[in-house]
Symmetry: C2
Subunit: 336 residues, 2 copies
């Protein structure tokens, strides 16, 4: 029936054993490098296994030792550009740890999320990583899950859970530090949607750094949307005051600001420095001049989440929220 074109039955250990003239037990030991097999027999078995291109059935194995070597990765929206680097970092770390990733996208829908959750539990994943869509905290997946969970991007509302999140406060801080270090003093701030914790956290960090240097922000934090259009339209108001640097809540906003400054003949970085957040390559690539940006290190976040999941599996992780330090990528827009 199911033995159609590309589907002649998978070769089993029994096939190998039979052809090598030994028992399955012996074949198993030979293949897994156990001791109690004569070198001679081992060779014979390995040869046959090779010849039949035998692949041990990971499922059967999993049923015995109780863990599958798979982890579930539950994302809220693949679409958003932040999930991807996290995903890559995690996939990377898991690949190294010989685990495979089962990917599910709940598209922000709690029902779908629960459905995927039970599918994953049914497949007996060893653990779960949950990738949120905003940095705001989210309720935990469920009570008494049979496997460890690490939340990333968005932390769990339960502080006992393990979470790995970007450090937006520090990001705002180092943006200002960089500007101050390069001689700027009159610093304005244009940001995105005020309902995003990312926006307000960055602003808080930036203000804190300003205060530490005895400076005051020029004008209010101008919240708007995460778009170039907003960046462009904010410039008119910005320039009503004397400004020598603009912190922009995202690279897109920064790009809008750069464009508008360019149109008005304001020179960057000579007259005004501009810095963005996210270090988003495709957006950065087209900026003139090249945009200095704070990289949130999402890929590192994904990797850390994976590492902590492993740690939890071994009972080595106490839980709690961990932040990932951002870093500044210096380019021309704040250059000397």
């Amino acid at each position: 029936m199911s033995t159609d074109a590309p589907g002649r039955r998978q070769v089993t250990l029994r096939d190998v054993a039979q052809l090598a003239g030994v028992s399955v037990a012996t074949a198993s030991k030979a293949i897994n490098g156990k001791a109690e097999v004569s070198p001679d027999t081992r060779r014979r078995v390995l040869d046959v296994a090779e010849r039949l291109s035998f692949t041990p059935n990971a499922l059967a194995r999993a049923m015995l030792d109780g863990h599958t070597g798979t982890v579930g990765l539950l994302t809220h929206d693949l679409e958003g550009r932040f999930s991807l680097p996290i995903l890559m970092g995690a996939e990377d770390a898991f690949g190294a740890g010989r685990s495979s990733v089962l990917l599910c996208d709940s598209r922000g829908d709690a029902i779908r999320e629960q459905h995927h959750l039970s599918t994953l539990l049914g497949r007996r994943v060893d653990g779960l990583i949950v990738v949120g869509s905003q940095t705001d905290a989210r309720p935990p997946l469920g009570r008494d899950l049979p496997v460890p969970v690490v939340y990333t991007y968005a932390p769990s509302t339960d502080p006992g859970d393990a979470s790995v999140v970007p450090d937006n406060v520090t990001a705002g801080r180092i943006a200002v530090e960089h500007l101050v270090a390069t001689g700027r003093r009159r610093i304005a701030h244009v940001s995105g949607d005020i309902t995003y914790a990312a926006a307000t956290d960055r602003a808080a960090g930036a203000d804190a750094a300003l205060a530490e240097h005895g400076l005051e922000r020029v004008g209010p934090v101008r919240y708007g949307s995460w778009s170039e259009a907003w960046g462009r339209s904010s410039v008119a108001a910005l320039l009503e005051q004397d400004v020598d640097a603009v912190v922009c809540g995202s690279d897109q906003i920064a790009r809008g600001v750069l464009d508008a400054l360019h149109d008005r003949g304001v020179r960057v970085p000579d007259d005004v420095a501009v810095i963005g957040f996210d270090n988003w390559e495709p957006m950065i690539a087209g900026c003139r001049p090249a945009l200095t940006s704070i990289d949130m290190n999402f890929q590192v976040m994904g990797r850390r989440a994976a590492e902590r999941l492993f740690a939890r599996l071994e009972g080595r992780d106490p839980g709690g929220v961990e932040t990932v330090a951002p870093r500044v990528i210096v380019r021309e827009s704040t250059g000397g």
Copy 2:
């Protein structure tokens, strides 16, 4: 040992049966809605199952009926922005078909690809989808694989394999059709890296459409790189001739062209129409005026690949290369 904090032993069917006072066989039937169980017993079993939050072990199931309900998705680079929509489309289709996706990223490395392949085969995936990184054909994964494979984005060099690819020729064609339909006659073409089949295919389609309308391309196809910078710098040469429309090999190039035209005071779309490819939201969003673009329908591609994989599983797909039709998204840059 492994029975630590979040890991008390998973509930098995036996536990349920025992507590409900029936045999495992009966419990199984009760849960799976088989007929030969009294309504009374069924209720009792279901209650217990609910109470213990029993989740059937999909692995054990898989060992019996021979298929796991998982498929492998082998991508060449997650990073590139084309993999993601394909991934989403596939995940979507599989989710609907009750299959789960095991994700592997080979990062363009053939060794890693083979390694992932054997891992996936070991996990007894029911099938594989391979997502290439360029539209150029690629060698098949291997001879005599035990499961069906569908290649997408990049077709397999073996025409007997099942492949789903974007239709770049048609994409080029409809770009020109649209321009001609909106009254343009003097059409130039700026494209990306000439070593990409995507670039040359689009150009071929565009030229064919021009020819059908008795038109000739204005100037050569100007190949360069897939960047805004190239788009910008190509404009000087473009404007040496009388041009009323520019086909741009990608949205990034188009954006560069728009920028440069803007700087020179050329009005879009009044003086010159501009059209891009890929309909890449974040790039489009910032364009002034909003950019008309050809959407390659990558998400549809992913879905089709998944559908064909299912079809292959049931022996219903003969193989061969299938193309996915692109569509034009009209915005202001070619508007009336």
